[in-house]
């Protein structure tokens, strides 16, 4: 039996073919999917996401050239600028939604899937799992990317704007995380955990 997470209806589990999606008979919410090799695929994309994420944070996202002066900023730099501009709360919010929480999501997913993939039950299994679930609604890297585009247009009237390595890596990280999430099947993950437990 499965229960719909959105309307609580109990229904029989159906067998799905590869890439099949089971929907709730009453409210249409997605109940579960069948993704072959879900754990492997999710882990692979998350490793890619981690690499891009580190690069995205290490290099500038934007540079501005005007009258011989150059100014550039990183992801952290823009949150820092808000902090120095005395918008502390907004700065902390920006830091959390674009850097800290996406970082936590990637790290926790790597930890969970990596442990299971290489044959042992992660020690902080329940904590790390609940962390990924709690953090997911608050990660906003995609939104930040749109903000970069908007800023480029806004600034292009007054100076030369150069996109940095950070932006391309950020786009890479976003694509990798989305791919990982689309391959992620919590049921497959829990099935692996069950097999590993004595």
């Amino acid at each position: 039996m499965v229960a719909c997470p959105e309307c609580d209806l109990l229904q029989k589990e159906v067998e799905l073919g590869p890439r099949g999606v089971a929907q709730c008979a009453r409210c249409g919410a997605q109940l579960f999917r069948y993704i072959p090799h879900s754990v492997d695929a999710t882990l692979a994309f998350m490793i890619g996401a981690a690499v891009f994420f580190v690069i995205a944070n290490a290099f500038p996202v934007l540079s501005l050239e005007a009258q011989g002066l150059t100014n550039s900023t990183t992801l952290l730099g823009s949150a820092q600028a808000l902090y120095d501009d005395n918008e502390r709360l907004v700065a902390i919010l920006m830091f959390m939604t674009t850097i800290l929480l996406p970082g936590i999501e990637i790290a926790a997913m790597l930890y969970l899937l990596g442990s299971v993939r290489f044959g042992h039950v992660p020690r902080a299994l329940s904590f790390a799992y609940r962390l990924t679930e709690a953090v997911r609604p608050w990660t906003m890297m995609q939104v930040f990317l749109i903000a970069v585009i908007v800023s480029v247009v806004k600034l292009s009237h007054m100076a030369t704007v150069v996109l940095g390595i950070g932006v391309y890596s950020l786009a890479g990280a976003i694509m990798m995380v989305s791919a990982a999430v689309s391959m992620y099947d919590p049921r497959a993950f829990w099935a692996c955990v069950k097999e590993l437990r004595p």
Binding site: M1, V2, A3, P5, E6, C7, D8, L9, L10, Q11, A25, R26, C27, G28, A29, V61, L62, L64, A66, Q67, L69, N71, S72, T73, S78, Q80, A81, L82, D85, E87, L89, V90, A91, L93, M94, T97, T98, L125, S126, Y129, R130, E133, A134, P137, W138, M140, V143, F144, I146, A147, V148, I149, V150, S151, V153, K154, L155, H157, M158, W190
Partner: protein, 206 residues
């Protein structure tokens, strides 16, 4: 005859979707698989969601009337509300960007508040009206809400990068804090709302 988990005396874990049998006497317990606290429905869902909703509605006013971005150049000082920022993009001919900001900063927060107000009052009244439609509204509201943060991030980027003393400086205005708060509060509001409350009145034996 179909039935719900609750009517069969079962709780569904909200983190890992495991179906669990709660302890006798309704004592608090955690999901045996992932350790999340088990509840039949999200605790105090309506009260919490209403609180976040009302706070968001109040802060929506300063978020839209106070200046969001202030820029200083040698010759001028300009300050714009969010809507004023959209107008600047539009007059500069950047229609796409004007559209994105208008949609993300004005349309989405308003639509989200309206939708949550509608969902909360119908759930409160235990309405049986168009449950499937309302479930879809909830799903859309929940996924679309985060896009309102665009304006905040643009502010951060501009403040960080436009720091040439000779040409100009940008700093964000007093609207950004209430605006960010509206985005966060509406997200908390949709997270606290339990979509199963849309369906519960239909499952009443009456």
């Amino acid at each position: 005859m179909s039935t719900t988990a609750l009517r069969s005396g079962l709780y569904v874990c909200r983190a890992c979707d495991l179906i669990c049998r709660p302890l006798e006497g309704g004592r608090d317990c955690d999901c045996p698989r992932c350790g999340e606290g088990l509840h039949a429905r999200k605790p105090d869902s309506l009260v919490r969601a209403w609180t976040f909703f009302v706070l968001a509605c109040i802060l929506y006013i300063p978020a839209n009337t106070m200046p969001a971005l202030e820029s200083t150049t040698l010759l001028s000082f300009t300050s714009n509300t969010i809507l004023g920022g959209v107008r600047v993009f539009w007059e500069d001919g950047d229609y796409l960007i004007a559209g994105i900001i208008f949609f993300a900063s004005i349309v989405i927060p308003l639509a989200k508040l309206a939708a949550m107000g509608f969902l909360l009052s119908t759930a409160q009244a235990r309405s049986k009206w168009l449950p499937r439609r309302r479930a879809i509204i909830y799903r859309v509201v929940h996924t679309v809400g985060r896009w309102s943060m665009v304006d905040i991030y643009v502010g951060g980027l501009l403040v960080a990068i436009v720091q040439f003393n000779t040409i100009g400086e940008v700093s964000i205005g007093p609207a950004s804090l209430p605006f960010a708060a509206v985005v966060i509060l509406t997200l908390f509001c949709s997270l606290s709302f339990d979509p199963r409350l849309i369906w519960d009145p239909l499952d009443d034996p009456k």
